[in-house]
């Protein structure tokens, strides 16, 4: 009575196995899009690159749940896990090294966002029946991340070059070196972040003293960034936004004040002159303070015409100013890590004598120069935005690598903060470590003048993985946005 039933119940709509390249491309795209969306939604706001004029909850620290990082990391980890399953332990398979780098980065982002999270037991439902993974401590996760990055670098050094689906570096033999550079650069990023809790000098030194074994970013071309296309659907993720939704986000006064003080032309990339100042014939970029109330935000400086819109480079299709053409959706890129960031890490490490290689001022100046060059290469010439570094830029007192160590570290932090523009939540993570440059909560903030330092766990975890979450909360402290996680203590 059940003849042919096996055949009837066979799903022929979709494959049950796929090759690694088909999964790799998806993980990279999803995670890089998430970088942009997370930066836009909250990262740029909390570090005061941007401020909101409408629906100001985020800006007033009325955060509620912020689940996007969690959801993106774990849902893409499923595909990464399948990649690992397909590759096995073959260290000469380039997908292994590349996947380890992506895994390390994803879990570092997730733990930096939430604190203790599922890591060692995550993604194991299919093979090991782990349905309610335990939350590992941040210390354990960081140890795993750093170890994996190191392994990835060594695997890729000996692996074959048959790498496809690599939409970050283009695949093939050329890409392998860049992935290794990314692995080691990320290691330096995470070692620096760990430096509050551990002495990381030896490990940093090991990397820097063996450039052949541990290649790191050497120029902007090494940047881990995703390039978009001019036609849908793989355009700059904000390109399809409604104009009103896009314009709820404006240039923060913090950003405009700091960059204006330095005469920094990068501000012209990040923001547009306010429409009122343009009409009046005196175009100038006017930011708005963060954390105003609904009413005050919309009324600030005489209304929205007196507040600068976010840069044309990042705008949506219909977010051009009057008389402007539609922006190019292939111009802006999703960022994972840049050469400039690495230079600032090295500058700080050298300044603090965690490493002995190189010169802090050189690293610092390299970082600034690289970031100027980066934006110069990104902004299409037809936009008419000149991002050339002014001749006296590096020598002016606000930038020049002078003063006491605190001054110098502050300058590094400031320039790093600028270079972190639109890079996920990285600027916030770094601020949490250094508390530089200062973030002053807005006047109508709803968090008792405290800047939040983490996201709360998704509320659904209370229902779906309650015991594991509770153990983490008991260990880490109350599940709110003001609880300082281990790495930042």
């Amino acid at each position: 009575c059940a003849r042919d039933f096996s055949e009837v119940n066979t799903n022929e709509n979709n494959p049950t196995t796929v090759t690694p390249d088909l999964l790799l491309s998806g993980v990279i795209r999803n995670m890089m899009n998430a970088q942009v969306n997370t930066a836009w939604g909250i990262g740029n706001i909390v570090v005061q690159h941007h401020a909101k004029i409408q629906f100001v909850n985020e800006d007033r620290y009325l955060w509620g749940e912020q689940n996007s990082v969690w959801d993106e990391v774990y849902s893409n980890y499923r595909n990464l896990q399948n990649l690992f399953n397909a590759v096995g332990t073959d260290s000469t398979n380039p997908y292994l090294g590349v996947s380890l780098i992506l895994k390390s980065w994803m879990f570092a982002v997730a733990t930096d966002t939430y604190g203790d999270i599922p890591y060692s037991e995550a993604g194991k439902a299919k093979l090991e029946g782990k349905y309610q993974p335990k939350y590992d401590t941040q210390e354990e996760i960081y140890a795993g991340v750093l170890a994996d990055l190191k392994r990835a670098n060594s695997f890729l050094a000996i692996s074959g070059s048959n790498l496809n689906g690599d939409i970050l570096y283009g695949g093939g033999a050329n890409a392998l070196l860049k992935w290794r550079k990314l692995a080691n650069s990320l290691r330096l990023r995470y070692l620096m972040r760990l430096s509050k809790r551990k002495d990381v000098g030896a490990e940093m030194t090991e990397i820097l003293s063996n450039p052949a074994t541990y290649p790191i970013f050497e120029r902007n071309e090494d940047n881990a960034e995703l390039e978009y296309f001019s036609s849908a659907p793989n355009q700059w993720p904000l390109y399809g936004a409604r104009v009103g939704s896009f314009d709820e986000f404006r240039v923060s006064k913090t950003l405009s004040d700091r960059l204006t003080a330095l005469g920094d032309p990068r501000l012209k990339v990040f923001g547009r002159p306010s429409q009122r100042s343009v009409t009046a014939g005196t175009p100038k970029i006017e930011g708005i303070p963060n954390g105003l109330s609904d009413v005050n935000a919309l009324a600030y400086n005489g209304g929205v015409q007196g507040v600068s819109r976010v840069g044309y480079t990042f705008a949506c299709l219909v977010c051009n100013d009057a008389g402007q053409a539609a922006p190019d959706p292939a111009a802006p890129r999703a960022l994972l890590m840049t050469y400039a960031e690495l230079q600032f890490i090295l500058a700080e490490a050298r300044e603090r004598n965690m490493i002995t290689t190189g010169d802090a001022a050189t690293y610092y100046n390299n970082g600034i120069t690289a970031n100027f060059e980066y934006w110069k290469s990104i902004v299409p010439p037809q936009y008419g935005i000149d991002v050339t570094m002014p001749a006296n830029y590096l020598s002016q007192s606000g930038v020049a690598y002078t003063g006491g160590q605190a001054d110098k570290l502050g300058k590094i932090a400031l320039q790093k903060w600028v270079a972190y523009y639109f890079n996920g939540l990285e600027a916030w993570f770094d601020w949490r470590r250094t508390r530089m440059p200062a973030i002053v909560p807005g006047p109508s903030n709803l968090n008792n003048d405290r800047v939040p330092v983490r996201f709360i766990y998704p509320q659904k975890e209370q229902s779906l993985n309650g015991a594991s979450r509770k153990a983490a909360v008991d260990r880490q402290g109350v599940d709110d946005m003001n609880t300082l996680m281990w790495i930042a203590k």
Binding site: V18, A122, V295
Partner: protein, 1062 residues
Amino acid sequence: GKVISGDDKQPLPGATIQVKGASKKTITDNAGNFTIQAGNNDLLIISSIGFTTQEISAAQAGNIVLAVDTRGLGEVVVTALGIKKERKKLGYALQEVKGEDLTVARESNVVNQLAGKVAGVTVIGSPSGVGGSARVSIRGERSVDLNKNQPLYVVDGVPISNAINGGSGSNNMEVDFGNGASFINPDDIESMNVLKGAAAAALYGSRAANGVVMIKTKSGRKQKGIGVEVNSNLTLESALKLPEYQKVYGQGNASGGDFAFVNGGGAGMADGTDEGWGPAFRGQLYPQFNSPRTLNGEAIPFTGGDMNAPAGSVITPTAWEPDNNNLKDFLETGRTFTNNVALVGGNDHGDFRLSYTNLNQTGIVPNTDLKRNTTSFSAGYHLTPKFSARAFASYIKSESDNRPSISYGTESIMYLFNCWLPASVRVSDLKRLWQRGLEDRQQYNWNYNYHDNPYMTVYENTNGQYYDRLIGNVILRYDLASWLNLQVRTATDWSSERREYRRAFSTQRFPFGEYREVNIINEERNTDFLFAADKEINSNFSFNATLGGNQMRQTSRFTEGTAGQLNVPGVYRLTNSRIPLVSGQNNVAKRINSFYGSAGVSYKNKLFLDVTGRNDWSSALTLPEDLKAFGTEQNSYFYSSVALSAIISDMVKLPSVISFAKLRGSFAQVGNDTDPFAYTQTYFSTNPFGGSQVYEETDRLSNLNLKPEISTAFEFGADLRFWQNRVGLDVTYYQGNTKNQILNIPLSNTSGYTSRVINAGAIRNHGIEVMLNVTPIKTKSFAWDAYVNFSHNRSKVLELRDGLTNYVVADRSVSIEARVGERMGDMYGIGFARVQNSDPNAPYYDATGEYTGQMVFAANGRPVATTERIKLGNYNPDWLMGVGNTFTYKGIRLSCLFDIRQGGKLYSLTQTVGREGGIIKETLEGRADGYDMSKPGNGVVGNGVVQQADGKFATNTTKVAVREWHSAWTGGRNIAEGVMYDASFVKLRELQIGYTFPGAFKKGLIKGMNISLVGRNLLLWDNVPHVDPEVMSYAGGTALPGIEYMSLPSSRSYGVNLSFKL
């Protein structure tokens, strides 16, 4: 002799004639004739189902008129598999709705009409206006999977599809395209029988666990000769309940400043905002989107909203006034015109009915419509006295050029009206869709920041549906012996549906427009055979049995193509795509083979015992070949039922007030399988990234060891009649348990997957149903009949497996959860923090107890939210009641039906966001005189306490500015507690007054004529602001009860129905 029906004076075939005291017996032929050998002194017993049994002496045999059994006890009802049975023999509850109750006061979705008419049935209709879907649950919920609680729909004994295919996807918002049953034409329905319990339904197998709605189609069987039946119905629809908006303040952002339109995007004063926190209406002059423009002082044919107006043109300010009837004027009077004509004929050998129905409906939302043509043919023929054939075919062609988008988002007009349309916008001026000279390219609007012109939304951005469906069956029946027959049946339900989503250029979310086409082909074929035996063993015992088998084949094929951007505006073809097309496909198949049988014994026609058994083999529980080695398979499952009924009034002497008493009881099991492909874990493709193809694994984890799920149920009932049947009372108690439920349970996504298919859980539901019929007055010319249907159901979660303590059924602003030990349908969400004095270590502890229970406010005057989700209520009603009354006086018939629902909670998103936008009338609280906080009546002080530095509490005195207050009330859409409402209501569901023209009229050409004035959903009493509590939201084809998500206003309808026969 010849037996004649006392009802229509027509010959009565199939009546039994028996010689009293002997075994000699015969039945009448199709012409009512019989011959039997008997002595003149013998008594003949003449009986037929539905008629009073009569004894006459053989000598008197001739034309014997059998009187109709007015007690209704011999009433024949159709039970599972189309088997006819006398109602009194049933061991379970069954309730019938007659066809005429469906066609006079009608709805385009016939399923909606079960509300109030059948005890224990909950119907929640979608207020999409034009034949949207209806969620039916019978006796509450058995499954935590909301999609699994729907009954099975059966036409002429054969199941049909009731699929709901979700209307969202590819960035399109939810559209309710109707469920399968919604397309059935009420004019072709003779009766609908609702089989409520598992025992009634056990023979239908898996899908009947939630009850069965059995539809019997009309035939020409009662007709002698040729006749014509005509039914015409015209109804008008208008909104039953409109949201109440504030009409005091116009567009703005509570800055207290003026308004000026420049570009609708923020270049003027507050012209970029979409909220109603602007200046009060004092007739002052402001430049607005609809204000005229001048150039150098000359009038030009452009207005403020024409962004392409000549440079240098100036907007002339016009009066700042509220549009008092914006939604009311926007909505239209819906019209439904239904015409049915049927040609019927019959003679001794056969009958036929050919019917054509045309339904032409326009909804209350402009440019929404439904055109449905149904042609049905039914015929039966007695090929030989023993061999007969019947066939039924119905072809339904349903077309809708536009069904409204529902839910929250730019494609929904209620999103605009309830949340983001300030009263200052004169909506009628938006009938001009395009900016002058930019037709088809650039919309004309009051706001260019966020929104679409609502007329463009309904006239240009349409969701069309073109649906063809063929339902047909063929039934052959052969009488192998006088007590044994064989029936063979085959039936097909085939539908082909095309959906066309069109989005015009300049739509906010589709600047280059969009065209998406979805094609869905569903087919279900059922083929079965059934031996039926009915034999009298001796004068005390008779026996009946059935044995049958069924094969069900289901296939569905879904394909879609999306042109995400268009080259040329207005050309809605996939070939007009500006970017690579995105396609999708999904083919699904399922088969179930079954054998089943039943046996029944009756003792002296007063004690009845029935047992049934069925074994199913399901393809959905069969492992695919390549997975056989990895799992255990149980694709065969058996289940059975037993039912007992006793006519107590025929067994013992009862007080004379009791004219009839029957007790019944039953126990049944029903097995169930799952959806196809539950075993396979696949990868699906998404948009390629340049040259790189992209695949992702599905996030649902399969299970290779699924077992069938089994529900068991028992019920007890009594059917009592008093005072010569003037009062009838039918009471049922039931209890059901569902075990091994096959569920797609949500997982923590940290496991890598968001859900997993498992056998889990046990849910118990129990309840009572009461049906009371009373005829308080009955005279020769006047009668008053009344009925009450009452039901009460409770479903409880007994167990979830694998350490699960809760199951998230749905999560949309509030989470509907099944928690072990709790009721089904409980809703959880963030609440207001309150003072407590039970736990000194928990927040807001008040040792004095003075402030216990009070809301806690922060120092800034905003309500404090709880950190964890709390229980906010349950969406299920405590009880439901339908109260109907019918008055007949000569040819005049007046009837009304009230539907009452007590209890159940509703979350209102309209309330949440309408407050934020300053649109709904509640937002006048705190702005008695504008926005200046120094003026009295401005700002709101929340009613509660503030915790001081020393931990003590004091009454909150902090005033919060009005705009801030109304979003603080929901903590920025986080706190649900403040927008939960009691969904109890009383509805005047139906009112009819009809006149049947008197007998004299019948003698002419026209045999019967009735004219009725009808109304449905005429009045509503409830406590939910703005929306009809009887609404639901949709998510991916799943109807979510208890959550209101920008629902369209429900409608009241009134009209006239005319029917006559030739």
